[in-house]
């Protein structure tokens, strides 16, 4: 594969994601959480907490972070890494904003399907 074939998939309108909130994109590789921070930045992560798989899309979004609804781990939206004393990382999916639409990187989604080492 090479970068030229990178494909951006339109998943919906920016405005459909509440500020300080998230929406879910269903995919064959599992759910993806698309977040919109207070400053308007959009992020996408696999919708599974590195702790026990909690749905991050249901958490409280603050700054560029989200607090998992199950046991309150705080996950960075920029890196997918757990913050503070907790350790773990959830895969991040590159996002492109164009004309008010949210586009996700298809290859990154494809990689979600491949189990990690």
């Amino acid at each position: 594969m090479n970068a030229m074939t990178a494909e951006w998939i339109d998943v919906g309108a920016e405005a459909d994601i509440p500020l300080r909130g998230a929406r879910v994109v269903r995919s064959l590789a599992g759910d993806i959480a698309v977040f919109r921070a207070a400053d308007g930045t959009v992020f996408a992560l696999r919708d599974r907490c590195p702790h026990k798989g909690g749905p991050l899309s249901q958490g409280i979004v603050h700054g560029h972070g989200v607090t998992c609804p199950l046991h309150n781990w705080v996950i960075s939206l920029e890196t997918g890494e757990a913050q503070g004393a907790d350790h773990g990382c959830t895969p991040k999916i590159p996002v492109l904003l164009a004309d008010g639409r949210v586009l996700l990187d298809a290859q990154a989604i494809a990689r979600l399907a491949v189990p990690h080492g």
């Binding site: 500020l19 994109v25 269903r26 249901q58 979004v61 700054g63 607090t67 309150n72």
Partner: protein, 817 residues
């Protein structure tokens, strides 16, 4: 030796202090009896304004609680006005016929508010501002959210205006003079003050001469001499005070403006002292506590045989206690030929400072906007310091003297030991530092308890903390209040107080005004703020779903696999064939994997897919069921037993009462979850005695319990009180819940709150003070009018639809290559 008898008339701040001193000097010398016309214990009158504005509760301003009188063997007759002093028999007699003999008598009857006798001054709705009854009357009137006119733009009038506005009234201040607070401020500062007051939305009308108060059977407005009419549902007269000396006069004591005393504080009868605002010393009467406390010290010493103790009036300083307005004045700042002044203005910062000098000695200071140097100036005024050396930089304050930087700690370090830190209580820096070392004090509360510094109006708290910090170094952390979270240094109570005081009505407003350190908070502070705002501004604040935990956002409980559980209400644990059938149908239709009876007498449907929630609710709604709020920091369940309907031991209709309570209280948001129960007799089958609120029915009525828990901690309840009827029971429970809603910290359950504020203060507010109970009850009812909307039905109708559907579904990834 038989104790001498000391009788005190009036139980205000001045005699309260005198008795403390007396007990310190000679605890066993006197048998003390107090008569007080007000039917309550000694409280901090200065702090009535924060009570009015909602920043404090009455309990927080009590100086001596009932226990103090009991511990010290003092008899207090509350609600007994003394009507006669008989100097021949040395007795006093109260309006209820109680007579007490004295060896020594203290008259401390305070002042009466002046009422200008314009037409209409006796109409209902015209109040003065002096005691807690006035505050309650104002708070009650403020409920209407109507219009108020305050006559008088002095300290009291402005505090009343700010308080009434904080309570939601539209307020106009009428002031006779051209500028506000002209007795404490020069015109320039008066003008800045007027701007600040107007910026809060209070209208100020100076040079306003009241012509009449209009209205037939209650007040409707105020008409000025110039014809202007201000409509009003409430008029507060705060135009001055007059020493209350009538009783002394009738007893034949020498009375001028006040009761005349010599420097030893004795009246013209050597067995009788006069103390406080009612006393006239060196031809002056006083209206601030600092000199009254000096008088109190002299009286205590005289009573213990120290004939040399003498009172001499000192300069006084004033601070306006309206949150957000910084104002300080001290000494004499009138213009005169032999005086010079130094003025500093900084309009961008809204700062104005003026110092008045006479022969190189500071005699007066007015500070607006930046009052940090007030105590330093005040200290120089009192000491008559020669300032010629620092004349050029004097106005910049202490930080600029001797080349030091404007570091507040350096400023406090530079203060001499005799510098006064707490004006109300006359506590100097040396006293604080000595007590800290002597007694090993480590916290502000301890310093307050042992020195009284910052224990009255509290405006010097920051300074006191700096002195503590100087003594203890880094081991003292002034932010000993636990901050809400990493986003702020403020604790929950401060945040709540400031939300009310500054009328902050949105999360961004709170974060901006209170200097949040993060851009949009965190998962700890946002839900707490959302709750505080909902509680404090019912009907005005718009709930912020994004600041709620997922369960409260989607009105179901998230499970470990990301599905949800649904618990419909079953009022008081009752259900019916129709409801059960609807539940069964829903279970089949949506293939819900688990159905379980909960510990709260209802049914839990577990494993519902998020997308199915609105449809599940729609079906349950159609059978008449609404959300059971099993997820809410709010009312959960009201468990009941079968009671008189069936049980051979039942004394009352416990099931019916449980249903009524649940129907009345569902939907209310609270700091943490609230669980209730009603048992039909003391066998207690509904487990009422381990609930947040529980009722045990008895033949004689209802025993109301509270502050129980049976989760992480196990606590039996305490009895709050008894009620005769169901209505009274519900009123008590609702008022209790409202008090908890207003005082509880987010996530603090009732038993923890009760432990923190003291169960006595709760009993006092709910059981003893029936008026307060009523006020709390009314606030609860008002807030319920916005809360009792079934969240399920709202979402079935389409609210927050985005929560329940994915934004998109991808057929990706295709084959991985």
């Amino acid at each position: 030796m038989a104790k001498q008898k000391l009788v005190v008339i009036g139980n205000g701040m001045a005699p309260g202090r005198a008795l403390e001193k007396l007990l310190e000097l000679a605890p066993d010398a006197y048998e003390v009896t107090i008569f007080n016309a007000e039917s309550r214990v000694n409280y901090d009158r200065i702090m009535l304004s924060p009570v009015l504005s909602g920043e404090k509760t009455f309990e927080q301003i009590v100086i001596h609680g009932d226990g103090w009188y009991i511990d010290n063997g003092i008899t207090l007759y509350k609600g007994h006005k003394v009507t006669e002093i008989n100097r021949n028999t040395r007795t006093v007699t109260s309006e209820h016929g109680e007579t007490a003999p004295y060896d020594k008598l203290i008259i401390a009857t305070g002042s009466n508010p002046v009422i200008i006798p314009v037409p209409g001054h006796q109409l209902p709705g015209v109040l003065t501002y002096r005691d807690l009854d006035d505050v309650h009357a104002m708070m009650l009137a403020a409920k209407s959210r109507g219009k108020a006119v305050v006559i008088g733009g002095g300290l009291l009038g402005l505090e009343a205006a700010a308080g009434l506005q904080a309570q939601g009234m539209e307020v106009v201040v009428l002031h006779l003079m051209p500028t506000l607070m002209e007795r404490q401020l020069d015109p320039a500062a008066g003008y800045l003050l007027q701007k600040a007051v107007e910026a809060r939305g209070i209208k100020v009308h100076c040079k306003a001469n009241t012509h009449e108060i209009t209205g037939m059977d209650r007040v409707t407005g105020v008409r000025l001499d110039d014809g202007t009419i201000y409509p009003a549902d409430l008029v507060v007269m705060a135009v001055g005070i007059r020493p209350n000396a009538a009783l002394a006069k009738a007893a034949g004591l020498e009375v001028n403006r006040g009761i005349v005393v010599s420097p030893d504080m004795r009246t013209s009868d050597p067995h009788i002292f006069a103390l406080g605002e009612c006393a006239e010393a060196s031809g002056q009467v006083f209206g601030l506590v600092a000199p009254l406390y000096d008088m109190a010290g002299v009286v205590a010493k005289q009573l213990t045989g120290d004939a040399t103790a003498a009172f001499s009036p000192q300069a006084t300083a004033t601070k306006l206690k309206v949150t957000g307005i910084d104002l300080y004045s001290a000494g004499d700042f009138g213009d005169a030929k032999d005086r010079e002044e130094i003025v500093l203005r900084d309009p961008t910062r809204g700062v104005y400072k003026r110092l008045v000098l006479k022969d190189n000695i500071l005699i007066g200071a007015v500070l607006y906007g930046d009052t940090g140097d007030g105590p330093w100036f005040f200290d120089m005024i009192k000491r008559g310091t020669d300032i010629s050396e620092m004349r050029e930089t004097l106005i910049f304050g202490q930080g600029y003297q001797g080349g030091a930087l404007a570091d507040p700690m350096a400023a406090v370090a530079a203060l001499p030991d005799e510098a006064e830190i707490c004006g109300c209580n006359g506590v100097c820096k040396g006293k604080i530092t000595t007590k800290i070392t002597e007694l090993g004090l480590t916290s502000l509360d301890e310093v307050r308890a042992h020195t009284k510094a910052s224990a009255s109006c509290g405006s010097c708290t920051g300074l006191v903390e700096q002195v503590i910090k100087l003594s203890l170094g880094d081991s003292y952390n002034p932010a000993a209040v636990q901050p809400m979270c990493g986003c702020t240094d403020l604790g929950h109570d401060d945040v709540r107080r400031l939300i009310k005081a500054k009328a902050l009505k949105s999360i961004p407003a709170v974060m901006q005004e209170l200097g949040w350190k993060s851009s949009c908070g965190c998962a700890k502070c946002r839900p707490a703020l959302n709750y505080y705002l909902i509680c404090d501004w019912p009907g005005e604040y718009e709930d912020d779903g994004q600041s709620r935990f997922i369960n409260e956002r989607v009105h179901a409980n998230i499970q470990k696999d990301g599905t949800y559980s649904v618990v419909p209400r079953m009022w008081g644990g009752l259900t019916s064939a129709k409801e059960l059938r609807a539940i069964a149908d829903v279970v089949d239709k949506f293939a819900i994997p688990t159905v379980k009876v909960t510990g709260g007498q209802r049914i839990d449907l577990l494993g519902v897919k998020k997308e199915d929630l609105p449809a599940v609710w729609s079906d349950l709604n159609q059978a008449g069921m609404i959300s059971g709020a099993a997820y809410a920091k709010g009312l959960r369940t009201v468990k009941t037993c079968v009671g008189t309907d069936w049980c051979r031991f039942g004394t009352q209709d416990s099931t019916g009462l449980g249903v009524k309570i649940e129907k009345f209280m569902w939907g209310s948001w609270t700091p943490a979850k609230v669980k209730m129960a009603v048992s039909g007799c003391p066998r207690n089958c509904a487990e009422s005695t381990c609930k947040d609120v529980g009722v045990i029915c008895l033949d004689s009525g209802y025993e109301i319990h509270f502050a129980g828990a049976a989760g992480l901690d196990i606590h039996g309840t305490q009895v709050l009180g008894h009620a005769k009827t169901e209505e009274e029971t519900i009123e008590i429970i609702a008022a209790l819940t409202q008090l908890y809603r207003e005082q509880g910290r987010y996530l603090e359950r009732i038993y923890k709150w009760a432990k923190r504020v003291g169960t006595d203060s709760i009993k006092q507010a709910i059981i003893e003070d029936t008026e307060r109970r009523r006020v709390l009850f009314d606030r609860f009812v008002y807030s319920q009018s916005f809360a009792q909307i079934d969240p399920w039905a709202e979402r079935v109708a389409g609210k927050d639809a985005h929560e329940f559907a994915p934004i998109g579904t991808l057929s990706l990834p295709q084959a991985a290559e």
